[in-house]
Symmetry: C2
Subunit: 505 residues, 2 copies
């Protein structure tokens, strides 16, 4: 078979050449009821051509369903198209796609939400259906059939190890400069595990490729499709205020002598607030910062370029399309400073606890006692999965959750009497931040926490209502965590009926 030079550089054994096929031929190997494992973590480094071809089979009327395991959410070729084609069966461990979300909330697809660090174990321990075919985007295939990943590692090493067969999407658009940035390993199952020797975010413990071998590879599809990245929204005024409060809190920790001005490794969720905080660090007096996180976006790449962050550990990068174009050109700038790990390492509870990460994640709602809902609207409707927030928050040196204090133009308060779903308990939430201010909850009893959250974080429109609930609950009893169970969800119920948590609207 004739193979052009650009492909030859990436297919490092002639054994590969005979395996080259079209996306449709590769997709044809996938049968009804199969469990697929795919590369990818966010819309980065996931296979695109084969899932698209698979979805086309469904759209043409073929009836079949497959399970899909991945690192986290994925781009539209999988979560959107496969859902639209009606071929998505069970999906784990994370999702943000609006099409798939709607299907889950109509009961059309099964979604299993879990801590991302658990997801790798679920694959390795064998308690879930086994991965039959893996579909993996690759930068290159080495001579021995090992895989060089692209813009994410996620669960790919565990998925490839468990799979019977592996389909490769060799993406010639991904820059060769990525090679060497990955640090891959599959942990043995207990009782054979050893300590993981990471004491700084950029310590290497594995190899820059995923072990595989030619016996498993059953097809290679050559592609040049860009990751399904999205432009970042501009930083809103509220996000900027939240960022300012977080930096103010961190400043206070430095002044109190609990942190020095290099802080501790930072973990930051994704989105507007996260970007605002990180851009805030760019302007701050903190220096020689490090990062131990699961996703790196534009702001972190800027921090590395500016020399403000000396090293960042992640499992994926999800820059804006503009930033990705720059990244592809400037890859070498990040060598030795940016490291991609499997998600059971990036999200490993032991390493997060050891390094003493400062975790910053987003809450959907938070209650007066400090419990956080990250996943369900009104306790029932899945918004996004929990992702890695629990891995980081539970094990962080300082665990921060932020949310804008009101949603839907003020009709919904993000601070409520009782969270309608709880993903992070009062035990895991140390600091709550809204655009109104921050509440440092460390060392406070539940009643003391309630006073501080209402005072510092609630929107003025809801402060009196929250105080009223809390005061009446305390008047009824002096119990550890006073609640009025018959009113606990009344705000949510009112909002479902009238569209607003405010009384009489």
């Amino acid at each position: 078979m004739e193979v052009d030079e650009k492909v030859k550089e990436r297919l490092r054994s002639e054994k590969a050449y005979d395996l080259i096929m079209s996306a449709e031929e590769a997709a044809a190997m996938i049968k009804d009821g199969m469990t697929l494992g795919v590369s990818g973590f966010t819309a980065s480094g996931y296979p695109k051509a084969v899932p698209h071809a698979l979805a086309e089979r469904g759209k043409k009327g073929e009836k079949f369903k497959v399970n899909v395991y991945s690192g986290a959410s994925l781009g539209p070729e999988i979560d959107t198209e496969m859902t639209e084609a009606g071929i998505m069966g069970m999906r784990m461990p994370y999702m943000t796609d609006s099409t798939f979300r709607a299907a889950v909330n109509k009961g059309e697809c099964d979604y299993i939400d879990m801590h991302l660090s658990h997801s790798t174990q679920y694959i390795n321990y064998g308690a879930l259906p086994k991965v039959e075919i893996a579909i993996v985007e690759a930068l290159a295939l080495n001579e021995d059939g090992s895989i060089v990943p692209t813009t994410s590692v996620g669960n790919t090493p565990a998925i490839v190890r468990q799979a019977d067969k592996v389909i490769i999407e060799l993406n010639t658009l991904q820059p060769m400069g990525l090679e060497g940035m990955h640090d891959c390993i599959v942990l043995p199952n207990p009782p054979h595990r050893k300590p993981i020797d990471i004491t700084k975010p950029n310590d290497r413990i594995g190899v820059p490729y995923i072990e595989c071998g030619w016996d498993k590879i059953c097809g290679i599809v050559i592609t040049d499709i860009q990751d399904g990245l999205r432009p970042l929204g501009s930083v809103s005024e509220d996000s900027q205020k939240i960022a300012d409060h977080i930096i103010d809190f961190l400043d206070g920790e430095v002044r109190a002598g609990r942190l020095d001005d290099t802080l501790l490794p930072i973990q930051s969720g994704v989105g507007s607030v996260a970007n605002a905080v990180l851009y805030g660090l760019l302007e701050s007096e903190f220096h020689d910062l490090t990062c131990y996180t699961e996703v790196v976006q534009d702001s972190m790449l800027e921090l590395i370029k500016a020399g403000k962050v000396t090293c960042a550990s992640t499992t994926a990068i999800t820059p804006s399309p503009e930033m990705k174009a720059k990244f592809d050109e400037e890859c070498d700038l990040y060598k030795g400073k940016l490291i991609f790990r499997p998600e059971d390492i990036s999200n490993n509870p032991g390493i997060i606890r050891r390094l003493g990460v400062i975790s910053m994640n987003t809450a959907l709602e938070c209650d007066i006692y400090g419990n956080v809902n990250s996943t369900h609207v009104n306790g029932s409707s899945m918004m996004n999965g929990i992702g890695g927030s629990g891995d980081f928050a539970r094990n962080a040196a300082i665990s921060i959750f932020s949310t804008v204090s009101v949603a839907k133009g003020g009709a919904i308060s993000s601070i409520v009497p009782f969270c309608s779903h709880i993903d992070h308990t009062e035990h895991d939430v140390q600091v709550i931040v809204t655009e109104q201010g921050y509440a440092d909850l460390r060392g406070l009893t539940p009643k003391q926490r309630a006073v501080r959250i209402i005072e510092n974080c609630a929107h003025p429109d809801y402060k009196d209502m929250l105080k009223d609930y809390f005061d009446r609950a305390c008047a009824t009893s002096k119990l550890q965590t006073p609640h009025l169970l018959d009113e606990a969800f009344s705000w949510h119920i009112r909002a479902m009926k009238t569209g607003s948590m405010k009384v009489g609207e």
Copy 2:
């Protein structure tokens, strides 16, 4: 000063002799508003004489309050007597004492509930008031002023390090055979932490004493007071059934090839069910078992004696008084097989995840989607703290929660539509067990979990009511986690009004 031979063996420097004083003299050093750190984890290895003398000051009418940090719950000389004396201010991190519980639920004392592995960090990181005086029960004081602990390690190493002054209670009743069983260390704060080199429950990483020094020791009180241990209740029929179901589940894991017949290191909470499970293991075909836990009771000591368990790591032993008497005589039997660690090591997320612990903890109530309440009755009234259950459940290879399906003679169902407080989220609960059966929730969506929990675990008296709630919630919506928020707490509200969750009682 004249010192008898039994004491001389334990006070290994003459510097100690001049520090000997009465409990009253030692207690006199404690002033209003002070923060005390005490040794002890459960009613084991805690100071008794000085807290009693301190409580006496309060009972005689002196007005003062102190904060008390410990490893976990403590014996009656502290949690009961100091509360009765009105001198208990803020207390952390765990409690089970009924007197203290009542005071907390009347708002008379401040109790801060937290994960036990967090408690050590809270002390080390400096976000809580600093320990001024430590009171530590000791088996012996070494020549350099280091402390040999007794029947628990708990948070004592961190407490002693932070304290300005240390009062020692040298307990001559504790058997010298304990010496050498402790493995003490204080982890440095981030970013200076190294991997903890434990790959088997009995690996040693520290020293058999707690670093202290004569400059800190401000008083030594000689005591011979037994730990405030309690007889164990007999195994109820329901506990036996729960134990049988758990062993059945573990058998299934072995048959499925996910475990071999040495299982994985076991963590077990305390109480009747825990004892029944462990006694069940004694009769089982499993062999060469190991244990990585926080408290060891009679059954585990029996398992070690019988050679069924080859080694057990813990932070305390809490045997019955009868078993303690035997233990004191037979200490040597346990050498090299029983190891006492600080609780940030016994409960360390990284080690628990690495070893792949099988965690078995108790739920107060559990909801149809698999969330667990461990701490609060009707969402408000503190029962016990969360203790180490979160450290183990979140990081276990298999996380099991058990509860009897009904309480109060059947008036209360332990399986409810919505937990009135959530300590362990759906993400952390893999198997739920009641006397009715077990529900393996791994790999299930919320709706699938509900069906299985109701079918396998609910009491027959409540099965139809739970099905009715779930079916009507599903009929309203096909959402990911269907709830009827206006009825979610109706069972609790009814029970508060009528004493029963049943309708029309």
